[in-house]
């Protein structure tokens, strides 16, 4: 187990390092910070002086080395825009993002597992087709479109729920959470549902299920205790993998619903060419995704000894 953890940790470090390179190169490609930070009428000479002062004219590799050294100490520099520490700004926004992604994951699981079981158990019936319709629709609908539709229906026409915003702590927050959580849930559920369906289908043909049935075990117990439990491992792995996708989805969801999380912050900072904040946001998300995946792998390893190799 120890070697397995060490191996996974090493892989994680490599992945985060790779992401830091990509983020650094891309942020430097999307625009010259001098153009963004200085008013448009600034003459060329002054731009040059500014680049010199800020160190933007050094070779990219040197700038990256500096960036990495500081980042390893948790220093992503100060926001160009607000002059506050970039990492602090990101972590201020993190609770909102984690709240939303957690709620989205829970909702997706609550949708996907029952649907997957029903769909497998009632294979090729109306119910299976209905869940297939849901899955196809969930996969096919762009996340922002679904978000806007929910806003129009539940926010504007029915006025049941606030169209956007974060709300105040408590019931108000819960009300504001519902629509974005549904969007994330619907976005995430289909893949899990398909996995549960195929896993349960597979399990239902296994000998142990036949044995259980032959013993006279209740059908519900057969399904949950025998079939579902044996098909859940790939589902957990995929939930971990999907966590990354979910954070990606959160970027769009947060933008549509004005949810003040890291995703929205990342979009804002890209728009304002506030590179330190973009870099801190993306690297922070990458670290979280890696940690979640590591945790998932460890859990799966504990559940299924065959995987620890």
């Amino acid at each position: 187990m120890g070697a397995y953890i060490a191996n996974r940790l090493f892989q994680m470090i490599i992945a985060v390092f790779g992401i830091s390179v990509i983020v650094f190169v891309i942020t430097n490609m999307i625009g010259d910070p001098a153009n963004v930070l200085l008013p448009p009428e600034t003459p060329r000479e002054q731009r040059e002086i500014f680049r010199e002062e800020m160190g933007f004219n050094r070779p990219l590799i040197v700038q990256y080395a500096d960036f990495l050294t500081d980042a390893l100490q948790g220093d992503f520099g100060n926001s160009f825009r607000t002059e506050r520490a970039a990492l602090t700004i990101v972590w201020e926004r993190m609770p909102a993002t984690l709240l939303l992604t957690l709620a989205g994951t829970i909702l997706a699981t609550c949708i996907a597992i029952p649907m997957g079981i029903i769909s497998a158990y009632k294979r090729h019936t109306f119910w299976d087709n209905l869940t297939t319709l849901f899955v196809v629709a969930g996969q096919a609908m762009p996340i922002f479109w679904l978000g806007l539709m929910l806003i129009i229906v539940f926010g504007v026409n029915l006025k049941w729920l606030p169209p956007s915003g974060y709300g105040d702590f408590g019931l108000d927050r819960l009300k504001h959470m519902i629509l974005p959580t549904v969007v994330l849930g619907v976005f995430l559920a289909p893949v899990t549902e398909r996995l549960v369906r195929s896993g349960v289908l597979d399990a239902l043909t296994q000998d142990y299920v036949r044995t259980a049935r032959a013993k006279g075990v209740k059908e519900r117990t057969v399904l949950v205790r025998h079939a579902l439990r044996n098909s859940i491992i790939p589902v957990i792995t995929v939930l971990g993998l999907q966590f990354g996708q979910l954070l990606g989805g959160a970027v769009i969801t947060e933008t549509v619903f004005a949810w003040p999380g890291v995703g929205l912050l990342a979009i804002e900072s890209i728009r304002n060419a506030d590179f330190p904040v973009t870099q801190a946001a993306v690297v922070s998300l990458a670290v979280i995704i890696s940690v979640v995946n590591l945790a998932v792998d460890l859990v799966v390893g504990m559940l299924d000894p065959r995987i620890r190799r």
């Binding site: 448009p40 002059e83 109306f126 806007l148 229906v153 926010g155 956007s164 915003g165 933008t255 004005a258």
Partner: protein, 593 residues
């Protein structure tokens, strides 16, 4: 299109399926499949209806409360809102009392006014350390300025300054209002004015607004409520510097430092900061001790929300959650108008759009170096037609100036739409077969910029000016290309004059040969513009700019377009109108009776 509504059409299709089943032409399973598709479709139809706002309107009492629909009587508030079709927007004009107008009626009520300020949050609460319109708007509520623009005359009138006088060509004497205190109790005095100006012109402070104040040389305190402001040269637009320049309490600033100011907007304004929820909203509460008893903000609380994405902003307005949004896209005006919840309000603003022509071959030889070709381009385009079909309104700018600029001469005639004349001019210039040119385009705040460009491109091609688009998605790349002289033959441009309502604010930057923006070089015009900039005599300046306009009209260094109109969305429960300088003053908003 069939005369059936989408839903009826849908039901009819399903009826057919059921008949097929009864006739034995399909089996039960196929029918079930059809039922599923039908069910999905039936859910989608109202969605689409809501989205497209079509005639299948099952939702006409969205007002919710009776007061919403009661206040929506057409003609209720004359010219402030648009009536009839979306593209026939009338303008918001003077139905709103100026802040200075005495109006005790709305004073000291409760309630909350919610406004969507912007798509992204302010970087700071220090009014001197940003260059954003949304910042200006916010700090007009928490702080005060020395002068305030009258939105009818566009002239700057006294506010924290009581009067000013030009005692020498480069010295202005200013008397300040007595008895004004900041939110923290500090007094507003001559020292305050001196400290604020010295802060903003200090290069070490690195204020992004330093450019506005380059002509200010220094401030001298004469007595507690009098200052002398010295300018580097005679400065005709001095009064423009008295607005959008907010006063910070100097004692507090010196004691607490810049980091404190970046979080705490302490001013003398009609509202005080209650909470800044970063990335979400700025909550302001009414200043009960505001010095100007004529401006008692009717709403106890003012919430300035940050909502990225115009569709969500629009949804918030139509859900009745917010009272004012600052941008209504042109194609959504009708939706807002028919909502029964809010109305689009159109206001002419100072910003002017045009297509710059490379009249001096700055980015290489260009056919537009010939004035006949430039005039041909101006005659080839149907400006009135574009305004009527594609804009929420627009004021023609026959020689680049907006009618709102001081110095605008209404006797200068715009180019007429005359394709034959355009062809003739091209032929005279030696291009009987027309010309091929490039047209650089970047992101734009103009409504329907793409559609206007396409219409213009087609009209130009009709006379033989074949323009090929090069479209850049990055505004900074575009600006850099343009400013560094690599714009090519034609470039989209618009100019807000830094909110200076004076011909100098656009002519010098856009056309003087010393400006980094210019693609035109005319020593005669340069001389006039220098003269206009150095003169303090209003009549003389009028004459100078009238002469300049004749030259510009004749020389046509750009395709002249129009001054923009902007569209706000305002709840039917609120009486408020925007201003031509786009500095929204929400303390003038009041609940509708």
């Amino acid at each position: 299109m069939s005369s059936l509504s989408p839903r009826e059409l849908h039901d009819r299709i399903y009826d057919n399926w059921e008949r097929f089943y009864q006739e034995g032409r399909i089996d039960r399973r196929t029918l079930m499949k059809a039922a599923m598709v039908w069910a999905a479709g039936a859910t989608a139809v109202p969605l689409l209806a809501a989205c497209g706002d079509d005639d299948d309107d099952d939702d006409d009492d969205t007002g919710g409360d009776s007061s919403g629909s009661a206040t929506n009587t057409p003609g209720d508030d004359e010219s402030t809102t648009t009536e009839g079709s979306g593209d026939d927007a009338t303008e918001a004009e003077d139905s709103e009392p100026e802040p200075t107008a005495a109006d005790g009626g709305g004073a000291a009520e409760g309630g909350t006014l919610t406004v969507i300020l912007s798509e992204s949050d302010l970087p700071t609460m220090d009014p001197h350390m940003h260059n954003l319109r949304t910042g200006i708007i916010t700090f007009y509520h928490t702080h005060d300025n020395l002068g305030l623009r009258n939105k009818d005359t566009n002239l700057i009138e006294p506010w924290l300054a009581e009067s000013w006088e030009n005692i020498e060509p480069t010295v202005w004497e200013m008397k300040l209002r007595e008895g004004v205190t900041f939110h923290n109790g500090d007094p507003f005095t001559a020292e305050t004015v001196k400290w604020n100006w010295e802060r903003i012109i200090n290069p070490e402070q690195a204020s992004p607004q330093i450019g506005n104040h380059v002509a200010i040389a220094g401030v001298e305190v004469i007595d507690e409520y009098t200052v002398h402001v010295t300018t580097t040269e005679p400065y005709p637009i001095f009064t423009e510097r008295l607005q959008n320049f907010q006063m910070i309490p100097e004692m507090l600033a010196q004691a607490e430092g810049d980091a404190y100011l970046a979080e705490n907007p302490v001013g003398t304004g009609p509202y005080m900061l209650e909470e800044w929820k970063k990335g979400q909203e700025i909550v302001l509460t009414r200043n009960p001790n505001y010095w100007n008893s004529d401006v008692q903000a009717p709403y106890e609380t003012l919430v300035l929300r940050i909502v990225p994405g115009l569709p969500t902003q629009l949804a918030e307005l139509l859900a009745g959650n917010v009272d004012i949004i600052r941008v209504v896209p042109f194609d959504q005006m009708e939706t807002v108008e028919n909502s029964g919840i809010a109305m689009p309000v159109t206001q002419a603003i100072l910003r002017v759009g045009f297509v710059r022509l490379d009249a001096m071959g700055r980015s290489g030889p260009s056919p537009f170096e010939d004035a006949r070709v430039r005039n041909a381009a101006n005659h080839a385009v149907d400006i009135e037609g574009y305004i009527a079909a594609l804009q929420p309104g627009g004021d023609r700018a026959p020689a680049l100036l907006n009618p709102k600029h001081f110095g605008f001469d209404p006797s200068v005639e715009p180019h007429e739409y005359d394709p034959d004349l355009a062809k003739q001019l091209l032929e005279e210039a030696g291009y009987p077969d027309g010309i091929d040119v490039t047209w650089l385009r970047g992101p734009s705040s103009m409504p329907n910029q793409d559609q206007v460009d396409q219409a213009m491109q087609r009209d130009l091609e009709a006379v033989g000016i074949r323009a090929e688009f090069e479209t850049l998605s990055d505004g900074n790349v575009f600006t850099t290309r343009h400013n560094e002289g690599n714009g090519g033959d034609m470039m989209n441009y618009n100019w807000g004059s830094y909110s200076v309502f004076d011909a100098d604010g656009i002519y010098w930057d856009m056309l003087h040969s010393d400006s980094i923006f210019t693609y035109y070089n005319n020593t005669e015009l340069d001389a006039l513009l220098d003269q206009g900039r150095g003169s303090l005599d209003a009549d003389e300046r009028m004459q100078i700019y009238a002469d300049a306009q004749r030259i510009v009209r004749e020389e046509a260094p750009m395709i002249f377009m129009w001054g923009f109109h902007s569209v706000w969305g305002v709840s039917n429960d609120v009486e408020w109108s925007p201003r031509p300088d786009e500095i929204d003053m929400y303390f003038t908003a009041r609940p509708k009776a």
